[in-house]
Amino acid sequence: MDRLKVNIGKLELQNPVTTASGTFGYGVEYADFIDLNRLGAIFVKGTTLEPRQGNDYPRMAETPSGMLNSVGLQNKGVDYFIERIYPGIREYNTRIIVNVSGSTLEDYVKCSERLEDLDKVPAIELNISCPNIKEGGMAFGTTCQSAANVTKAVRNVYRKTLIVKLSPNVTDIAAIAKAVEDEGADSVSLVNTFLGMAIDAETRKPRLSTVTGGLSGPCIKPIALRMVWQVYNAVRIPIIGIGGISSAADAIEFMLAGSTAVQIGTYNFIDPAISMKVIDGITDYLSRHKLKSVSEIIGKLEV
């Protein structure tokens, strides 16, 4: 299956199909449904320096072709991850990439430092785009300056592959991608969720305890695809495309727009085996189009 191999900086993935942070737990949640070892990579749950309870219930609202969430990075902290979870998942025969979140620059740095030594975690994804925490989170991802600062600080302490996950809630995502590239990010992943809101007209109350939350799912795909295309035209580092992918065709569209790999998020909830179908669908596409390698479609949109 060499024809599916792609590289994210120094990091080789056996195929471009990965699963998005916060939608795939630590992988084990899907072990009954799919062969985890076939995935290009698993982006595990957002991990913070200290444990976080997350936000109050309700944390979810269905929307047209999508959903809002305000989970708020519920997790047991990086130490718990290293001591209790990592030993169980390090045996997977796929790449494990930790999504690092935080409220302060120091949080990001400390959390990243601790992950550097994990031999089976070859990369981290810096989440500077979570709309669901009060401090930090998305704020880091909405100006070039703050995005550059956090990237620089983490780059100083983390030598393995550094992926920075961008927020779509900005006027010019390409400029932010450029800023983090300039500070040494090996890759950018995009997009995180769009800040959205849902209201129950009958009760006149917000549907989320936090009023606003992050929108994901097929509804956002057209915007995410446009952003990948804009970033592809602005940076040289590889892009990991995210946003509403629900089929092999979607994944291929993201690759044509310039993604080297893709993440599947929300659609895993609808079809827990979707990632396998996307891998098979890409293989089939390559055969039908007589292409030797998946790299032949990256950025090959004919405009």
Partner: protein
């Protein structure tokens, strides 16, 4: 857990808003082990506005016919569309999901309290208790006579008491007003239904120092522990009601309402 296509064997309206849907694996493979309190996630593929799956309890398992029953109440677009599916059509389910009611180890008086469509898992639970050789008593509540479902099925498994808000069947009032609660004491209570009802049941159980489990109906996105959307605040912190639940011992719950 698996994702599987089921063939709808029958879909029968029980009243103005509830359907009983009987399904069997499309590939005819025998159904795996399933436990009372567990649920399935139904894919609603025939609607323009439903995106997420819908959680529905396992109402009954008929091993002889390799059939699973779902009792569905039409409250919105998703449940309405599920009820439109006709015999012969396919329903894609993720199942079995969640923990289950704890099955006692010895004989005793067990009361199963269901309100509205919350009676659904009680049928399966009653059957399991019967199979273990334990008797079950059922206390079913609804707004009116027509809202009390599957009475004859329940009667096959044990004594049935009813309350209706309008008094059209059984005693008038809420389940917790029923005289059976005043006149008897139980070894364990199981409950499923609207939250205010379950909270009243929990108060009764606490007052009477009776063990009690409740099945929650939190909003769910995935149903199998991946999204952390369905959390319930408990004495053990935020737990997933889809994997740590939907059944919780009332002692763990921190319900404020």
């Amino acid at each position: 857990m698996k994702v599987l296509d089921f063939t709808v064997r029958s879909n029968e309206p029980l009243n103005y808003q509830n359907n009983l849907i009987k399904v069997a694996p499309a590939d005819n493979e025998p159904l795996p082990d399933m436990h009372p309190g567990q649920f399935v996630q139904v894919l609603v593929s025939n609607s323009g506005s439903v995106f997420l799956r819908r959680p529905i309890s396992i109402n009954f398992v008929d091993r002889g016919k390799n059939e699973m029953w779902l009792l569905v109440q039409r409250v919105g677009e998703g449940t309405r569309k599920i009820c439109e599916i006709t015999a012969g059509q396919t329903l894609n389910l993720i199942f079995p999901l969640g923990n289950s009611f704890s099955i006692p180890h010895k004989k005793g008086r067990y009361l199963l309290i269901g309100g509205g469509v919350g009676t659904a898992p009680m049928l399966f639970l009653g059957k399991k208790l019967n199979e273990k050789g334990f008797s079950a008593e059922f206390l079913l509540g609804g707004r009116s006579q027509r809202d009390i479902l599957q009475i004859s099925e329940f009667e096959r498994l044990g004594s049935v008491y009813c309350t209706t808000e309008d008094g059209s069947l059984g005693e008038k009032g809420f389940v917790t007003d029923h005289s059976v609660l005043r006149n008897n004491s139980y070894d364990f209570i199981y409950t499923c239904g609207p939250k205010p009802m379950m909270m009243a049941v929990a108060r009764y159980a606490n007052t009477n120092k009776t063990g009690c489990e409740a099945s929650l109906e939190n909003l769910m996105a995935c149903g199998f522990g991946a999204c952390l959307c369905c959390i319930e605040k408990t004495t053990r912190g935020n737990l997933c009601s889809c994997t740590d639940g939907p059944v919780f011992n009332i002692n763990e719950l921190t319900w404020t309402d």
